[in-house]
């Protein structure tokens, strides 16, 4: 019982930490620091998944944790760093919505997902309940990052933190087969490649990765 309670607390802390790091992402206005926070996000995710693997006694989840650690915490942030450097946009400061309202909206979203998840899953395993509520918060915050940013790189980061939320939800539930996780990981990788290529194409054509350049090209005003 004591052990169970400790396991619960640790996984709770890790998931809560993930939500906290999502909040940190909301107010980063430099691209490098955003990427660093994202790497931290993926690291905590990897820890959380590993802890779940240990608690649930499911060794295949270690694979997922390693995937998260290698790809999301190391490969992708490093690659994005290089992209930002190549594009020469590391000094850009950008945010479409002010930090204050964004943080307030983020708090509202977390409250919403708590209220909703705790009520909907009233008779489920308490560990899975909390985990799902946190995962939904991470997903919504990732979406919020995508919506409030104007730069394509930060939108990519928002998208990937959203994926982290999905992985958190998938590992929280017992008995999720490895196939699903691998496919999730690969989908992220593919999305990253595609978006990376698109970034270069956009850059080539418009000399900027600010997506408003696309809007200007279409003759629209924001």
């Amino acid at each position: 019982m004591q052990m169970h309670s400790l396991a619960f607390d640790i996984s709770h802390t890790l998931a809560g930490g993930l939500v906290l790091i999502s909040f940190m992402m909301l107010y980063q206005d430099r691209l490098y620091s955003l990427l660093n926070v994202f790497a931290l996000h993926a690291l905590v995710l990897a820890l959380s998944v590993a802890w779940q693997a240990y608690v649930q006694d499911a060794p295949h989840l270690y694979v997922t944790a390693v995937i998260a650690l290698v790809f999301k915490a190391i490969v992708i942030p490093v690659a994005l760093h290089r992209i930002v450097k190549q594009l020469g946009i590391h000094r850009d400061i950008e945010s479409a919505v002010g930090i204050g309202p964004t943080m307030l909206a983020g708090m509202g979203l977390v409250a919403l997902s708590m209220v909703l998840m705790l009520r909907v899953t009233a008779d489920a395993d308490p560990l899975a309940r909390e985990d799902l509520a946190f995962a939904l918060s991470v997903v919504l915050l990732g979406l919020l990052v995508m919506v409030t940013r104007r730069n394509a790189v930060s939108q990519v980061v928002g998208f990937m933190s959203l994926e982290n939320g999905l992985v958190l939800a998938a590992t929280g539930a017992k008995g999720m087969p490895l196939v699903v996780e691998i496919s999730v990981a690969f989908s992220i990788l593919i999305a990253f490649i595609v978006i990376g290529i698109f970034l270069f194409r956009i850059r080539e054509r418009f000399d900027s990765v600010d997506v408003s350049a696309l809007d200007d090209f279409r003759g629209e005003r924001r």
Partner: protein, 671 residues
């Protein structure tokens, strides 16, 4: 081979001919091959279904094919109702194929018609045979799409693209209504077989909804006012033998759907439902024929007349529902037989008249009757059979139209036996509407025939008209003979229909073949009876006698001299009575209210040499009052929503995000 397997084999053969038509369509002989094949197959299916109907004791036979939904399969069933409608479908199919053998030669784009013609026939056969909701809807859609393709065969002609578009929209709307109706019928258990639906109990709420949805779904296909708007556009746009099939047969398939669901699947009808059907039928009959009366285009006139006949059939079905709801089996069987008889009759004479219109179109290139005239001298055979069709559709004895309308009015006269006051008042009122429609129909066809076939040619094309080929004439003569036969021997038809009434209503009309001298007595001889043969003999004899006496006792010498021209010795053909002038009295009486018709006379001042002009202003109030506002609303809102096409990526993301959050909020508040 079981009867249903025979019918399904015929359907397969029709689908095979459709494939064959695709392969052959560029060859010169394709027309003869395809129409020959459909003729043979339709005849086999026709004989099979007639034998089933006359054999009478066969009982329904089922066939399940392992296609369609995996847990359901495709069920097909041949019972009395289905076999009667198969007779209608395949008789129409056979005659249209025979006609097509000749008419199809003039088709300038046969590859647009040939593949779809057998497919259309197959679709109609399948709808009648289907025994589960899924197959029914699938075949219904197949039939609609095949006929749509045929409507669009001449898509470059002005107006046809619009006709096809409106047809497509209305057909999708109708299928949506049918889909919802079958969904309600299947209920929460979701068993889509007709056997299960028949056995299930339906709540009054669901029954009412199903009735409304069927009136929308089957009614839009059949042409009930105000859902008829596509029909006078689409039916004339197709090649004439296809117009004949669409008007004469496809509308009947829609009526089959209505009967199948309302009488068969839902079980006992209720009397308030019958009031709705009666009312819609009466209004449809009068509106349809008033529209027809205002029409100049021969094929559109026929299409509008189809709407009138659909109204007559629906009114008879409403009568049958009213009697059945009150347990008056005999009267219900009478009204139901009248409806079915009229279905058969209308398929005969409407096909015949569309064939006639097609013959006129082939030889003159004209559909506008104001440019025709005098065709009786140039196309004597066509003129004769079209005259037969006009007399039959005007419900004059001794032809078939009279018998079915007479039976219907006999049923109307049974209305005092109904206990509800609403029906006691409603039925005679609808009877009056139907009588009005019948009289207007006669006027309408006097106009159509008189203007197009009598008088002097109004144009070059009418002057140089030639008689059409033998295949077309053969098809028309066969249908004309059937009109006469069904008119003078109605007792046999009524007896042949009795298995259907027994199956659907559980009652039947008295056996007619026992009546002396081939007369028919729907209730009892003491009340009313009719003998078509006797009427025909009387008409023939008296007319012959009159002709004989005139020729015998009047001056036998034939003198020819100049006709008296009222002082205008060389009147142009344009000075003849035109269709518009013939319709003027009716336009004045009814059109002022129904169409907001106005005559504008532009009279030049004295001394001015320009001609005076008479302009007629007509409004289609149903189009302007119902469809135009809907079209405007859709146009307006799509104009507004168009801005959504040009948002920024971030705005799209925000929209997705906002939608997600809203849905979650809804869930959080209501769960």
């Amino acid at each position: 081979m079981s009867p249903v397997a025979l019918q399904m084999t015929c359907v397969a053969a029709l689908l095979g001919s459709a494939v064959l038509a695709i392969v052959l369509s560029r060859l010169g002989s394709a027309t003869a091959v395809v129409y020959g094949a459909t003729l043979v197959v339709s005849l086999i299916a026709l004989i099979g279904s007639i034998r089933w109907l006359l054999g009478g004791t066969g009982g329904a036979t089922d066939l399940t094919l392992p296609i369609g939904l995996p847990w359901l399969g495709a069920h097909f069933r041949l019972d009395a109702l289905a076999s009667f409608f198969l007779v209608v479908v395949n008789l129409g199919g056979a005659s249209a194929s025979l006609y097509g053998l000749g008419y199809g030669r003039h088709e300038h784009a046969p590859h647009r018609v040939l593949p779809f013609f057998p497919a259309f026939l197959a679709g109609m056969n399948l709808v009648v045979l289907a025994d589960d909701a899924f197959s029914y809807l699938l075949c219904w859609e197949f039939m609609s799409l095949a006929s749509w393709a045929l409507v669009m065969a001449h898509h470059r002609e002005p107006g046809n693209a619009k006709a096809g578009y409106i047809y497509l929209v209305m057909a999708s709307f109708g299928t949506l209504a049918l889909l919802l109706a079958f969904g309600l019928l299947a209920g929460p258990a979701g068993d889509y077989g007709f056997t299960a639906i028949r056995a299930a109990h339906h709540t009054p709420y669901a029954t009412t909804l199903v009735l409304i949805l069927m009136l929308l779904g089957a009614g839009s296909k059949a042409g009930l006012v105000p859902l008829h708007v596509w029909l006078p556009l689409a039916h004339p746009a197709a090649p004439s033998h296809v117009s004949a099939l669409m008007s004469g047969v496809m509308t009947k398939v829609a009526i089959y759907g209505f009967i199948r669901v309302i009488f068969d699947l839902l079980g006992q009808p209720t009397w308030p439902a019958s009031v709705v059907v009666l009312f819609l039928g009466g209004i449809t009959a009068v509106m349809g024929i008033l529209y027809a009366m205002m029409e100049k285009d021969l094929k559109r006139l026929l299409a509008y007349s189809t709407i009138e006949n659909i109204g007559v059939i629906f009114a008879s079905l409403g009568l049958a529902m009213a009697f059945q709801a009150n347990g008056l089996k005999l009267a219900a069987a009478l009204a139901f037989t009248a409806a079915l008889f009229h279905v058969l009759n209308h398929s005969f004479f409407k096909s015949l008249l569309f064939f006639g219109a097609g013959a006129v179109l082939t030889s003159t290139g004209e559909r506008n009757m104001e440019k025709l005239g005098g065709l009786i001298h140039r196309m004597p055979f066509t003129s004769f059979v079209v005259l037969v069709g006009c007399v039959a559709i005007s419900a004059l004895p001794p032809f078939n139209g009279f018998v079915s309308e007479w039976l219907m009015f006999q049923a109307v006269l049974q209305s005092p036996e109904l206990p509800q006051w609403a029906l006691k008042i409603m039925v005679p009122a609808v009877g009056a509407l139907l009588a009005l429609a019948a009289a207007l129909a006669a006027a309408c066809f006097v106009k159509a025939y008189g203007v197009a076939f009598l008088g002097r040619p109004r144009g070059k094309s009418a002057e140089t008209a030639q008689e059409v080929d033998r295949f077309s004439l053969a098809a028309m003569f066969i249908l004309a003979a059937l009109c006469l036969l069904a008119g003078i021997l109605p007792g046999f038809v009524i007896d042949a229909l009795s298995p259907v009434t027994i199956e659907i209503l559980g009652g039947r009309m008295p056996i007619q073949s026992n009546e002396p001298w081939l007369s028919i007595a729907p209730i009892a001889e003491s009340r009313s009876s009719y003998n078509g043969l006797l009427v025909m003999v009387f008409i023939t004899l008296s007319a012959s006698l009159v002709v004989f006496f005139i020729h015998r006792f009047a001056s036998r010498a034939i003198r020819s001299g100049p006709a008296w021209g009222c002082g205008f010795s060389d009147a142009t053909p344009a000075a003849q009575y035109s269709g518009d002038s013939f319709a003027q009295p009716i336009r004045r009486v009814f059109g002022t209210m129904v169409f907001h018709a106005r005559d504008h006379v532009d009279m030049p001042a004295p001394g001015d040499t320009r001609p005076a002009r008479l302009r007629i202003e007509l409004h289609d109030l149903i189009w302007e009052g119902i469809y135009q506002p809907i079209a405007d609303a859709i146009g307006y809102s799509s104009e507004r929503l168009n801005r959504l096409q040009f948002l920024t990526i971030r705005r799209y993301l925000s929209l997705v995000f906002a939608t997600l959050v809203t849905l979650l909020l809804v869930l959080a508040i209501w769960s």
